[in-house]
Amino acid sequence: MHPDPGSARPSHNIAMWGAPGSGKTTLLASLSIALMRRRGPWKIIGADDPSAEFLEEKSLTLSRGEFPQATLDMESYRWVLVGEPKAPERRRGRLFGGPPKAAPAPRVGISLLDPPGGLYGDRGSVSATDQKELLDNLVQSRGIVFLFDPIREFDNGDAFDYLYRALVQLAKQILAGDDHGDGKLPHSLAVCITKFDDRRVLQTAERDGLLTVDPDDPHGFPRVEPEDAARLFHRLCEVSRSGNADLVVNALDQYFREDRIRFFVTSSIGFYLDPERNVFDARDFQNMVPNVTGNQQGLKAGASKFRIRGRVHPINVMEPMVWLGEQFYNSQPNNGTI
């Protein structure tokens, strides 16, 4: 019924993990734009109609300046990461066998789960059925995108609460019976520090001297070098409101293999660019603005309080997915020949 370009590949499960409002859905919504803004070797395409439409529809929504709704229930998407075909490979025995054949483009099928963030927490009102289903999903998946929301951490300081409960359960399920492993979870973990575009996050990075500018970037966006992402993460945990954000760092170290964790400083919406100047302006870069209808007069029912001011320039949105995709791809048994 559906064209299924991914069905040939096994599908790898990825789960989005993060507190409510940490930006999971927005990150997914901006994937398509990220893809178009930045040319890289990988593309993401929908493996079925609804998933393809999600990419398309949500990027339109974001371009209109609207943030996605709060997730009410687990949604899952099936996508395929398609890479650049490998350069033709010269093999022995082929010397006289005509021109070498170009290898087909590498493909990684992913099934992505976007749950409501509350399911990771332990605030009374979540249904046990839902949590169980989420846990089953986590057990099934090999990739996790963990979203650390510095703004929430500034204000509420509860990132640890939304990490630990589910992590312990997951470890119990996976590690309890497995006594030959290294005692670490088998997942690859992409830790995304979200909302880099926010004043407070940018300023923290700036104060710590973690900002650089890529000389090749025509827009001159500030960025945090991949090596420094972990440092920013530690730093944000330190300035957090609660005392136990540092436990987040510990918990991640404790449960995941070092070579399977990667930190990304991300922003789904990116910095504001004045359409005329088109370069980053440190005096005016906030891209999230209160909504038109305002909050004093009361919002229209269903309207969100914030909107996106200008164009969306996602930062490090593709990268976590691609990194996970590559992890999967490299672990596929016969990827050399496909």
């Binding site: 409510p20 079925d48 439409e53 009410l72 229930d73 949604e75």
Partner: protein, 681 residues
Amino acid sequence: MGTAHLTVHWALEGKQPGSSDEYGILACSRGPFSPAHFMDIRARYSTGTPENLPQVTIGWVGGGRQDRWLLLSIRQSSAETDGTGRAIAETRYFCVPYEQVTEHHLSYEALHAALEACEPVRDEPLAVSVEAPNIEDIAARVGLEAISAAALLLTDEPVCVVGGEALPWLERLRFLDTVFSLLPYGMRTRLSASTWTSSTAGRWWTSKARNECRLSFTKHAPEGVHSVRWGALTEVSSSRHDAHRYQNLLVDRCGQPTALIEWLAAGTEPMSFSPDGRARALARLSEFTARDDAATRAISADQFTMERLLNECADFLKSRQDGKLAEHLDRLGNMVSRQGGRFFTGEQRRYQEVIAERQLLWTWQDVDDDLLFQLHAVILKVGYGPKLSARNMDEILDGVGSPGRSLLLAMLRMPSDAVVRLTLACRLDDKAELRRAFDQHSAGDLVNVAAREPYDGRLIQEIVDELARRGSAEEGLDIAGALREHNYLSDAIKALHPASIENRTRVLRRLLVAAYGQNLEPMEFAEIVGLPPGGEPLLAAAILSHGAGAGETLLQTVVLSYLGNAGLDPTTFMKVKSALLEPKLGGPAPSDDPEAYEDGSGNLNAPEGAVSRILRKLRNPMSRGRSVRVSSRHGHLEEAAGLRRQDGSGGKDWLPYVLLAILGVAVVLFFVLGYELLKSL
């Protein structure tokens, strides 16, 4: 119409404004449902993250006898936002006791309208009054999509409606109501539906309580979900038997939608989507047409079960699932036996259709012989039992192309009459079976069978042989009587040898030998050859006018020239002529081989007798097809007019007059008969 008074339990789901927490139950009424219950209900009926609000979801809760509830949830956007500024969607869940809605057949729209408006007070259950819906309004909305969707629900799999995004939510709710109104009301105890579901909300489409069905509008049909396109009739695949059947019945019956919906709405006893429930639903629907007719009223759900089993047998045949097939056949067999082999009027008609359509009586290649025989035997019992009639047999044989041995045998083993048995035994081409069949029947039976139209050449041949055999075994008397009954099988034999008078004559001769022995007694002869009544005065007048020697003339000119024109072989004709004209020599005919026409064995007693017999023969064409008579009506009238003229001229040659007169009588008779027939049309 009336008003229902309901006690409704409720819960409110949302977030505190400005909160950074997850959605949860903010308040609920005290009573049988705790917040934890409502969390589970929420999880079960979650339709994903909505794109458009409001959104109405319906479902059911509980299941015990005392514990049946309809669930209705209304999700609306509020003007409040959460900690990250996203609009908070507010959902109200209402649980309505099922038995309180049944009396007035409340629609979901009516429930929604009443519940929508009420403001819960602290933790009190709500007391709500709901107006009974106007069935005509619902009936007016019955359309192709609704019929398709209602039928597809009978697959017991989720159904989505695509292409309805642009419809206002209330229209969508009404649509759900319309669809449900096309199912027996009791199925609502197991129905879930929503005015919108995200295509990526896996759980709505996959997770499923037992025997529950889910219907929703969505954007794209998720994999493995039936879809109905808005504005179109979606044919239910015939492989989904119950659903397919339901659709056909609905299409058939939706001519009076109001009455139909009322009828279905009255079926309030709880029903699920299990095969059993489906059969009951089908029964309920078909009872609709039959509901005024007490005799056919009792359409049982078994009927639909049986039908489904038949269909599934065909599926298993196709997919070569022999084990399952055998199992199903057993079940079918048992069902028939349980019914004592009795069927309701018209019941088997439907099975026969399925059987024909699904080619259940065909000879399926690669199916084990025993299984094939079992298949045919059981199917025959279901479709044509307990006694296989000749008509059914013809139908079956016509339907299957070349019937296989297994089928023929299975048919042969069924209780049936001689015609069937003999026909089948003959078709079977099995000497032993044929023998056995012949042995069960008297000569009369055999002749009857041979005379049965349409004529079966092979069977006639066999029967003639058998009669010839029996004749020699002194069964002649019976044979003669039976032959007389059937006009000596002249027509049958004509069908056997349409081109050759000669052969027909030979076969008839064999029959006469079998019936009367080698030589005919004059009485026997007279019996065989007789004149029809009604022409006597004319004949007498003609003979008188001829004067003496009329017998001679009659023989010479009428009989001989009659036979001469028949196209007999010259030798045969010569034999006939000599037998006709030569005086009787007495003694038996020199050969008892009827094939060898010996000379001078005829014994014509009286010229009248001969003529009358010949004339009697002449009647036969008159009993042929109606069209012949109609088309020749004027021609005969003209001939009759010509007869009067010639009659008035006082011609000398009487024989043609006699013949003409006889013909005239025939024509008049014929005319009268034809006229009567015409009038009766």
